[in-house]
Structures are given as C-alpha cells and as structure tokens.
C-alpha cells in the first residue's frame, strides 16, 4: 500500500547537474523501501482513521472543470473558461441542481468581468475564436 513512494526517475544527466537529484532519489528509494517493509507489520495509528469513501462524481467534475478551464481558456477566452470551471465543479456537489449551478456560474462570470478584466486587467481576452 505504501509502495507508491519508490519512484524510479532516472538521472540521465552527466555527473555535474545530476549529482544532487541522484542523491535524493537514492534516499527516497531507501525511505520507500523502509516504509514498504514497515507496512508489513501495520502499526496502529493513534489518530482515528477516517473511512475513505469514493466520491467519483465530485472528483471527476472537479478534474474535468480544471481541464475545461485550460482548454476553453486556450481556444475560447476568459469568459467561457470561467463559466465552464464554475458550472462543472458546481455540478460535482450533489446538493446543487442544474439551475443553481447555472446561476452561480453566471454570477461568477460577472464577478470575473468586473474584478479580473476591468480592475486587474488579466492578460487573457474575454472572448476569442482563433485557434492558435
């Protein structure tokens, strides 16, 4: 379970710049192995364990919303990206309906327009259709 630690990222660079990362990589491998060995005799945690529930809907929506921000920000401009990230992530919460997510997204677009476009002048056009 704890073996996620033993990343093997090769240090391909020559001895100069690769020296330090290599040393760290080696240390990480050692701690990783120790943790993995320790996991064979699981020690009781003092802190009460929180049951780990899978929350696929929330997770997928949040990840998708960030991806949508990047993609739409690239091809569509700031406002569509804003709408997408707020709307999608709002849908991730089970208590939100389509309607409330829509209203929230629209509201955030207004906020975005006033704060980031007028006041702070973020370097991303509000709308654009070009494919760069």
């Amino acid at each position: 379970m704890m073996q996620a630690q033993t990343y093997q990222i090769g240090t391909l660079d020559d001895m100069g710049p690769g020296y330090f990362p290599f040393a760290i990589g080696a240390l990480m491998a050692i701690t990783g192995i120790t943790i993995a060995l320790g996991a064979r005799h699981p020690a009781k945690d003092l802190i009460a364990e929180k049951s780990f529930v899978f929350e696929w809907r929330g997770w997928i929506c949040i990840c998708l919303s960030i991806v949508a921000f990047v993609v739409l920000g690239h091809f569509g401009g700031l406002l569509p990206a804003t709408f997408a990230i707020v709307f999608l992530s709002a849908l991730g919460d089970r208590e939100n309906t389509w309607k409330s997510a829509l209203i929230l997204a629209a509201l955030m677009c207004c906020v975005c327009f006033v704060v980031f476009s007028l006041l702070l002048r973020v370097q991303l056009p509000l709308f654009q259709w070009s494919i760069r």
């Binding site: 379970m1 710049p17 960030i66 990047v70 690239h74 804003t82 992530s89 997204a105 980031f116």
Partner: protein, 512 residues
C-alpha cells in the same frame, strides 16, 4: 545594540504608518480574516490564492499584505473552530476541543473574546522577541558561509519532516519529494534542463503558486466534496457578549502566558509545524491544571493557551525566515518564495540592505494585530453569517479564483494544468496518510540547499568532511543527527511495545 533596535523599530513604524502601506496591510488583514473564516480554507490556501495579486505591488506593501493575510486567516480560523466546531485549519483542531463546548454553554462570545486577548498578547510578545533577538542573530549570521547554511537547512528539513504529525518516515519521504520537485527546471550551474519530461514549459521551474494551490487547495476540495456537513444554524453573537468577566480573565491569564512561551520556543526551532505547537500547549495546560477533567468540556484555559501559542509562534517564525532565509514551516516557505519572486533574497543582508522592509514588517505586525482586534469586534456578526455560506457555492467560486490566480502569475495555462496534477498527487498522498506540507518546505529550500552544498564542497576542494570540521556547522550537524537518532529510537521502542501487545493478545487467545 538594543537602542539601535529601538531606533530602527521607530523607523519601521514610520514605514508601516505610511498611508499606502497601511492600506495594503489593512486589506491583507481583512481578506485574510475573511478567507480564514470560510470553511475549509486555511492560511496556506489564503496566501497562495492571493499571492498573484501582490505581483503588481511594490515589495514593502506586498509583504505587509501577505503577512496580514497570514495572521488574519489564523484569527479567522479560530472563529469557525469555536462557534461551529469546524477546524478550518489543522492547528485550530485543538481549539475546537474546548471552544465548542463553551459555545454550547452559551459562552461562545467569551471564548472568542479570550481568543482575541490571548492572540494579541502573544503576538505582542512575539514581536518583542523578534525586535531584540534579530540583531543578536544577525551578528552570528554574518559569519555563516555556505557550509553553515547547508547544515542549518538540513536541520530545518529534517525537523520539518520528522516533527510533523504522523509517521516520521513518511514526513522525510515527502520532504525528499519536495526537494526533487525543487530540482525541476534548468540547473543553475550548468544550464542543463532536468526533469522536464519533454515539456518546454518546465525548463522554467515548477511554479510555486501552482504547487501550493494544487497541494492545499485542489486536494482539500477533492477530499471535502460532498463531505462537508451543511451548517444550518449557528449561534448569533453580539459584541457585548465578547467581553469576558474578571474571573474568566484571571482563569485565562496564566495559560495565556504559558502558551505564549511554548509558541515562542517552538517558533525559534526550525521545522516545527503550528499544529504540533498548539497540541503541545494544550497538553501542557491539561497536565498542570488543578482539575484536568474540565478540559474538553469547556475549559477557558484550553482555548487561551493553544491560541496564544499559535500566534506567538507565527511572529517568532519570521525571525529565521527573514534573517537567515530558512523558513520554519510551510507557510513561512510560501512567504519566503514570495520574497524571492519579488527579487529579494532573505538572509542577513536583507536586514541591512532592506532595513525599511524588515523593520516595517515588524512594525506592521503590531499595527496589523491592532487592526485585527478593531476589525473583529464590530464585524463578528458578519463573520458568523459568512460561516454559513454553503460549501456547494464556495467550492466552485474558490476553484475559479485558483485557476485565474495561477494563470495570471505567468499568463500561462500550462500552470493551471500543473495545479490539477499536484492536486491529484496531493489526494493520493493524503489518502495514504503522507503529510503534504513538508513538500512545500522541500520545494522552496531545495534549490538553496543544492546551491550551498555545491558551493561548500567546491570551496573545500571536494572534501565532504568540511561539514563536520567547521565548528558552527558541526554543531548543527550534531543536532540533526540527534533528532534523527531519537526518532529511530522512538520508532524501535514503539515497534517493541506493539509486538509485546500482540504477544499478550496471542497468549490470551491461545489457552481459550
């Protein structure tokens, strides 16, 4: 020398008192307080979210604002902990233990008042320590070369990794992961690109803001979504309720002083996180209390002491960060990173070359703490209302601010992707019970550690033994080794006791 410090401090007050600086300090405290009150947002997410906003500012107001956000959010977190039993920020988990029972008894206002008084007292004490200890430290600091700096940084990293909550080994491995993340980008000495995985964007280092927001913002959201209980009704409060009676003040006074001292001590030690400080202050208070059974049921001492500890630690933490360039914990690492972005390298030179910044910062702490008290007395009703903002509205809006904030750092959408990446990594780590804050510490210190290590070895013609030959460095190396050995010793002890328990359990089962 003390006179010199006082003169400098006076000058600092003049800097902090300039209307322009005062305004940004005020804005920082206000926003920090606001974000701190919101459920699920701590000092780390507050600072990293607002860091991009400070890029347009001059250095002095920017740092004053960031510091304001820091202690403002810390104070705001206490409100949620006491009134709603919501520890927005891990250090406040302890405050919940006694603060919330007090609220249930209808004394929530008193608890808040006590918190405010002890925070103010502790912060003032911390500031005084800072004023008088910094010049002393500076005298020593000028003798430090790369060898000594490397040793201290190593100590900080080891402490940061092992003294956080949970398994020490996991902490160390997270610190190492942070160091590795810090190595991404173009190597300073040779210009070779490392760990870029073919992305040209990565030659320019990983973005600090993206890393911090991914690990502390997105990770939090992914974990908390659909899991935050909706807050239906909170208590209503008027500011008149906040005045504690004389008896309550008496009850709170000594715990407050003790908490302050605990916080000061731990603030001076590198790498000890705020959570462990508040927990220790609470444990100490319960141990020496005449009626320990009252703790957990609304003891005033249980609120005063940890809050005082966390605030005095906050102030004292700035000493090593500013004068040596070695951050004590993740928040300090973030502030250090902010300074670097603004083109200022913290270290002994900072205090002499940017005297206005250093002393202005100290003076602004005091002004900021006064502002905090003034702000919170009339606005407490508003904060309580804010606590009821449903998480389902809060989360999407915050996510949006994160995305735009990261984008505007370098006008790069690639970095928004980095946020998602680190958010996912953070969730994996957190669910496997790896602490994430050492990553940030490692990330910020990584390049500095590497640089100083190389320089030290270069100066000594490749002799690695130079770290134990120089006296100052040897002392720090000794402390580091002691910390490590103690941890190993405790780990073996723990393993033995567990095995003993198991053997006992087995024996009980066998005859039956």
């Amino acid at each position: 020398m003390i006179e010199q410090a006082l003169v400098d401090l006076w000058h600092g007050f003049a800097v902090a008192g300039e209307p322009h600086n005062l305004m940004w300090s005020f804005i920082g405290v206000l926003i920090g307080n606001l974000i701190g009150v919101l459920p699920g947002m701590g000092a780390l997410s507050a600072i990293s979210m607002l860091l991009p906003l400070t890029y347009g500012l001059h250095v002095v107001p920017a740092v004053l604002m960031l510091a304001g956000i820091f202690y403002g959010s810390q104070y705001g977190g206490a409100i949620g902990a006491i009134l709603l039993n919501l520890p927005c920020h891990p250090p406040h988990a302890v405050t919940c233990l006694d603060g919330y029972p007090l609220t249930k008894q209808g004394r929530g206002g008193t608890a808040l008042g006590i918190t405010m008084i002890s925070s103010f007292f502790a912060a003032s004490f911390g500031i005084l320590v800072m004023v008088f200890a910094s010049p002393l430290l500076l005298k020593v600091a000028f003798k430090f070369g790369p060898t000594e700096i490397f040793s201290i940084m190593l100590l900080g990293l080891v402490c940061g990794g092992t003294l956080s909550r949970g398994s020490a080994l996991k902490g160390v491995s997270m610190t190492l992961f942070g160091l590795l993340a810090g190595a991404v980008g173009t190597d300073v000495n040779s210009g070779v690109a490392r760990f870029t995985f073919g992305f040209p964007e990565l030659t320019d280092k990983l973005e600090l803001v993206a890393l911090a927001l991914g690990l502390f913002g997105v990770t939090e959201f992914l974990i908390n979504i659909n899991r935050m209980d909706a807050v239906i009704a909170g208590p209503t409060l008027k500011w008149r309720d906040m005045r504690p009676s004389r008896g309550e003040m008496k009850e709170a006074f000594w715990p407050m002083v003790r908490g302050t001292l605990v916080g000061t001590l731990f603030g001076a030690m590198p790498g000890t996180g705020p959570t462990i400080t508040t927990f220790l202050a609470y444990a100490l208070e319960r141990k020496i209390s005449k009626n320990p059974e009252s703790f957990g049921k609304g003891a005033i001492a249980g609120v005063a002491s940890p809050e005082a500890a966390s605030h005095s630690k906050t102030q004292v933490d700035f000493i090593p960060t500013m004068s040596l360039g070695i951050p004590g914990d993740a928040v300090m690492a973030l502030i250090l990173g902010a300074l670097l972005i603004h083109g200022i390298t913290p270290g002994p030179e900072l205090v002499t070359q940017h005297a206005d910044l250093f002393w202005g910062l100290i003076a602004s702490f005091w002004i900021g703490n006064i502002l905090l008290v003034i702000l919170n007395v009339p606005l407490i009703g508003l904060w309580v209302k804010l606590l009821r903002v449903p998480y389902r509205f809060l989360l999407p809006s915050a996510l949006f601010f994160i995305a735009v904030g990261v984008y505007s750092t370098n006008n790069s959408l690639f970095e928004v992707g980095e946020v998602l990446f680190f958010g996912l990594i953070g969730v994996v780590f957190v669910s496997l019970k790896f602490p994430v804050s050492p990553i940030l510490l490692g990330y910020v210190l990584g390049p500095m550690v590497e640089e100083n290590f190389r320089r030290a070895v270069l100066l000594s013609n490749g002799e690695i033994s130079v770290f134990v030959e120089k006296p100052i460095s040897a002392v720090f190396m000794g402390i580091t080794a002691t910390v490590l050995l103690l941890q190993i010793y405790f780990a073996i002890q723990r393993g033995r006791s567990i095995r003993l328990c198991r053997r006992k359990a087995n024996k009980e089962h066998l005859p039956g």
